[in-house]
Symmetry: C2
Amino acid sequence: MIKQSSAGIYSWLPLGFKVMKKIEKIVREEQNKIGAQEILMPTIQSSEIWKESGRYDDYGDEMLRIKDRQDREMLYGPTNEELVTDIFRSSIKSYKSLPQLLYHIQWKFRDEVRPRFGIMRCREFYMKDAYSFDLNDDEAVFSYNKFFLSYLKTFKRLELTAIPMAADTGPIGGNLSHEFIILADTGESKIFTDKRIFDLDSEGSIIEKKSLENLRKKYERFYSVTDEKFDKEEFEKEVDKENRLITKGIEVGHIFYFGDKYSKALNAAVDLPDGKKDYVKMGSYGIGVSRLVGAIIEAKYDDKKEIMKWPLSIAPYELAIIPMINKNDTSTLEKASKILKHLENNNIDTIIDDTDENLSSKIKKFNLIGVPNQIIIGKKSEGDTIEFKEIGKDTQNLTIEQIIKILTEQKANN
Amino acid sequence: MIKQSSAGIYSWLPLGFKVMKKIEKIVREEQNKIGAQEILMPTIQSSEIWKESGRYDDYGDEMLRIKDRQDREMLYGPTNEELVTDIFRSSIKSYKSLPQLLYHIQWKFRDEVRPRFGIMRCREFYMKDAYSFDLNDDEAVFSYNKFFLSYLKTFKRLELTAIPMAADTGPIGGNLSHEFIILADTGESKIFTDKRIFDLDSEGSIIEKKSLENLRKKYERFYSVTDEKFDKEEFEKEVDKENRLITKGIEVGHIFYFGDKYSKALNAAVDLPDGKKDYVKMGSYGIGVSRLVGAIIEAKYDDKKEIMKWPLSIAPYELAIIPMINKNDTSTLEKASKILKHLENNNIDTIIDDTDENLSSKIKKFNLIGVPNQIIIGKKSEGDTIEFKEIGKDTQNLTIEQIIKILTEQKANN
C-alpha cells in the first residue's frame, strides 16, 4: 500500500492512495458542513512572514530550511499560521466579513530526528489544517466549538472513537486546546481518563452557540488529559477508582485557540462598527490525513488473527475476488471475471487477484490488505453458489444475487 | 482567485482552488480511462536515485537542493522518472505484469531564475505526470499512443484546441516527443504549423493498437513543430503558402518516449518468457494542472470586452447573483437569497455577491471572475421576471423557471 522512498518519506501505491483519498474526502465534507472554505497554500514559504511572527528562530531544527538559487531563505511549511494570516490581512478589512473559517489539505514537512511508526510519524505528511478568524473571544470560541463538533463527526465516520482531551498548547501557543486521541497500545501519547467519556457522542448537537457549548460541557464533565496536563492528585480526586483509565493513544487531531498571538504580530486587524480597529482572534485546527491511514490500521488490525478490516467508508475496495489459478486451467479466472463484471454492474467496487500465487497465500495477503469482503473461487466452487466471507466472519455459500444483496445493505447502513 | 505568497509561489483562494480542482478531476478521469493507475509520490526526494541515473549533477540550478538536519542531500522533485522507476523495480518482476501505466498529481518545484506569467510559469506548480513501462518498443509506442489520445480528449473537455507538435526531448532525453500547444498571443512557444491540423479531432478513435496508430498518422500528416524542431526549407516544401501558420502558443502537455534510458541506469528489468531479463521501455507524460488555469484564462479572456468566461465544466460557479445593495433597503438581498435557494434546490451551483459595492463595479468584477452566467437584481427588477445574462451575450428578462431551464440545458450539452 505504501513504500518508503527515503527516511520518513513515503510513496503511496494504488491501494494506500485510495484509502487516503477516501479519508481526505470525509475530512473535507465535514469541514464544508461547518461553513469552512477550502483554499490551498503552497508547501514552500518565504522566511519573511516567519520572521514577522518571531517563529523563524524559535521553531528549531524540525523546520526544513532551504536556500534557493538566489540565496533567499525559504522553508518547507511545517504549519501555516503565518501564511494564512498574511492571506487574511490582505483580503479581509471589515468586521462584516467575519467569521472566516479557512482550511486547506496539503503536504507538510517536519524534519524529525528519528521518524518512527511508518506513516504515523513521517517527515513529509499530508494534513488538513484550518484557521478561524473572529471579532472577539466569544465568537472565536463559537468557531472553536464548530471544529470540536466537526472533529467528533469526522472520526465517527471513520469508525474511530476519538476522545477530545485537554492538551498543552506547545509551540503554537495559546490557552485553549484539545487533542483528539484514539486508544492504541502502540500509541505515543499517555492518557488519563474517566472511562465514562467513551460513552459520549455528538448526537443531537447542531451548529448553534448554545448547543455547541453544551456539547463541550458534556465532554468536559469527565476528566481526560494527556500526560502533559496530568495531575495525579486532581485525577484521583475527580475520578472514582473504578472509572480511572490510564492507557496509551494516538493523536489524530488537535485544535487550538490562541487569540491574537499571530494577528497582533502580523498586524491582521479589521475595522470595527465604531470606526476603531482591532486584531482578529484566531484558532487553528489540524487533522493528520496520512497519519490517519496508519492510526486506523492500528485501531482495526487484529494481531492475534492477523486480520485487517477497513471501515467500508474508506476501504480500498468493497470486495476482493480471489480465484485459485492453475497454469493449465483458466476456468476459475474466467468465472472470476464473469463475477467481477456482474458486481461492477451493480456498483460494487471490486478487485480481482489474478496472480498465480497459491490460494492460501493469496487469502492471507487479502486478510492483511483489509478489503472487507472476499469471494473465494477454489476447487470446491461448483454449481450456483460461491464462497463468500465478510472478513472476520464465517464463510457462507451464497448465490451471486445474495452476495449483491448483502453488499448493498452494508453500504446502505454505512 | 490566487495570491502570490513569494516569488513564483502562489496560494489558491476559494474560486481559483475550485477551478483547479475541476481541471484536476477531468485530467484524472481521462487518465483512468486509458487504464492508468493513480499513485502518489512525495515532493521531497533523496539525492541517491538521482545520482544513480546521473541526473543529479546534470540537472543544474533549477533543481531545488536541500540539506536536512542530518546533512543528507535531498531535493524537491522537479520530475519523477527516477522515483517511479525505483517503485517499479521494487514491485514488478515479470513481463506478465506489463504494461504498467502509473500516474500521480503532485506539487513540483523548479527554481526558475525569473518566474513569469503568474501561474503559467511558477516555481511551485501542480502537475500530473504519468509513466509507462513496457516490454518492447512496439508495446511502448502503444502506451505512448494511449496518452496521445487521452491528452486530445482531456483538452477537448477543457474546451481547448491543443495541437500535438513534434518537439525536442530536452533534458529528459529520448527520441519521440510531442508538445500539446494551444494558441495564445502571450505564449512563450513559437510554433509553425499547417493550419489544417486545427480541423482534426480524435473522434472515433478507440484504445486499440491500429486505431491509435491511425490517429497519430492523421495528425502527423500535417506539419506542426515548435521552434526547436523548425526547419524553414522543410516547412516551405511541405506546407502550401495559404496553409502556413506561424504564431505563438502555450505548452499545456508534453509526452516523451525514451526507451531504456532510466530503466538501464536504475536496473529496472523484468523476467522474459524465455528466462532471460530485459530492461523495460519507458515513457513519461505530463500535464501542468496549475498552469492550465492560467492557460485557459489566456485562451478564454476577451481583452477588448474585458470579459472572461470559464468553460462550464470547470467554472468556479455556474451562476452569479449580483444584487444592488442599499444601506437602508435589504429587499434586493432578500430577493437574491430567495432565488439562490431556489437555484440550489435545482442543483445549480450559485454564488451571491452580498458586498455593498456599487452595482456596476460588482458586474465588472464578475465579468472578470468569469462565472459564465449572471442574474442582476437592480432597481428595474420588478414583477416576475429577472435580468439574466450569459456572459458575452445580451441580457434577457426571464422568469426563474426559464433561467433554470437554460442552465439545465447548458449542463446537459456539456
